[in-house]
Amino acid sequence: MTKGLMEGSEAMAEAAIACGCRFFAGYPMTPFTELLENFAKKLPAVGGVCVNAESELEAVGMAWGALATGARAATGSTGQGLSLMQESFSEITLAELPLVAFNMARGQGDYFQSTRGGGHGDYRHIVLAPMDIGEAVELTQLAFHLAELWRNPVLVQGDYLLAHTAEAVDVVPIDFGPLPDKDWAVDGSGGGTGRSKVISPLGIGKHNTPGPGIEGQQQAVAAKLARIAGVEPRAESGFLDDAEHIVVAFGTPAKFVRYAVRRLRDQGLPVGYIRPITLWPFPTDAVAEAAAGMSSVLVFELNAGQMIDDVRLAVLGRAPVRSIGGISTDHSGFGVGPLLDVEVIAGRIEGAATEKEVMA
């Protein structure tokens, strides 16, 4: 297959459309805007609809409506815009609709928002964090698959680099396996039958076909999330066998970390890495296993320290956990700052690994 040079925004839109996404709504905001532009350009050609919504709130609402009809639908923004969508995210999760949402984030400070759920209530989204455009093409399609498999929203966690750099990629539809029928979707045909449907976060159902009720619905979703957490964690790791220190990183910065790790290994430093691919469910077992026996577990993320909480929970004191990341962005605040540099990262890893006093 011939690969074409594609910007991340275009590749992700292509991937979504390749696996059947036919509705997208969004509001322009850097660095997400180009994803919206690509959907606007490509969806009409395949009989789909892209709406430039008048607010992020309306964008997620439109996606909600499209999802209710059984269509593959998505929305997205950057962290700030997703902040506005949180009430709807919570309720869409309770309504068990298969929303795919893209966060083209400004840095990595949205980790808490994405993994804890920035809205109210006991909900989680599956969060997939691609490292590069090639992986984003796969994980975008996996997002739609998992969303329908579990009837739970899936967030694709990207950033400025992912959206705005170009790589040679081949967007091929991937078959991840069979999916259940969407017998819950509404198309009007239930009207007057006595068995009409209601798609609702409240779980009340109809007089003739009652649901589990508000508490029952919340408990059912919580139980489902626990099942998801059991089977969906994904991570990628390297050089763990002979490592004495490991570095944990996610997303595009992880590619820089991998490169730095290889360089340091060539210089004789026994360091490995582990890269969570699902930020939720966090690959707790894999990180715990990787951390066992390590002299230090170093966490690199472009924020004030968010994923490090999940790393600490996984490591549970078996090894010292230390931050080697930090807030770092450009003058406009959109993404790429001085910390995202292989030399700088390698220096931090080396400094932390060889330091006599290590803070846990």
Partner: protein, 257 residues
């Protein structure tokens, strides 16, 4: 009565056929079930029973999402118009309506209904306007009129302190995307009959693909108005009805444009 039963025939339905049960817990004298009957009868009469998707907002009327025998999507407070947009864009041949209260549509969701109308989305928004947030206990909304006493305007709505009401139908009628805008009420049999005719025209406007339609219905809320149930109609005539005036505002035979 004579021993031989005289021949007779039933007029109308006791309960609309599109309700799974007529039982509900809304207050005595509430106008919302009356308006909902009109909506359901119009769907039936236009043959839309098996091709309708409704989007329900949050208010006292939300209780009917359990009993309306129509395929429904439950939306958040104020957010039905955007959900209806997504539904209609994916299923353009279906009849799509929203069912919202004034607190839902004109407070929380003002932006949503304005943009949906401006875009000319081919959906019909049905507004149940009683000038209060009924479900939370009777608080002021953007449609409450000056002088109206609510739990958040105890001395009566005061322009200086609380500002002025929004007359939503008039606001929407100014938008090019809005094809049919009408306001009815249910405080008397005559008003009910007139409202039903306007409701039908609103639905026909969607069926003809003309653009956005709004069917606003003033409903009594004696609980939120702090009046005895039997005085609901009079209160409506004297307060809400003076500001939110009944009639076709756009697109009808009797309207200006």
């Amino acid at each position: 009565m004579t021993v031989d039963e005289p021949a007779l025939h039933q007029v109308g339905d006791k309960t609309p056929s599109l309700l799974q049960t007529g039982e509900h817990d809304l207050c005595p004298g509430c106008g919302e079930p009356v308006a909902i009957r009109l909506l359901l009868e119009t769907l039936t009469e236009l043959g839309l029973t098996a091709s309708t998707i409704g989007v329900v907002g949050i208010g006292c009327y939300t209780a009917f999402s359990r009993t309306l025998d129509v395929d429904l999507v439950q939306a958040l407070h104020g957010r039905a118009p955007s959900v209806a947009t997504g539904v209609k864009r994916m299923q353009p041949e279906k009849f799509v309506f929203t069912l919202q209260g004034d607190g839902d549509m004109v407070n929380e969701g003002l932006q949503e209904v304005l943009h949906t109308a401006a875009r000319g989305e081919n959906v019909t928004c049905v507004l149940l306007n009683n000038g209060v947030f009924g479900e939370t206990g009777g608080h002021m909304t953007a449609t409450s009129v000056l002088g109206q006493r609510t739990k958040t305007s105890l001395e009566g709505r005061d322009a200086d302190y609380h500002g002025y009401p929004i007359v939503i139908g008039d606001l929407l009628a100014r938008l090019d995307g809005a094809a049919y805008i009408a306001r009815g009420s249910v405080q008397s049999a005559g008003a009910v009959a007139r409202t039903k005719r306007m409701m039908r025209r609103a639905f026909e406007s969607q069926l003809a693909g003309e653009g956005f339609s709004l069917m606003e219905v003033l409903t009594m809320c004696p609980t939120g108005w702090f009046v005895p149930t039997a005085e609901g109609p009079t209160y409506m005539d004297e307060t809400l009805g003076q500001v939110h005036v009944m009639g076709e505002l756009k697109g009808g035979k009797s309207s200006p444009s």
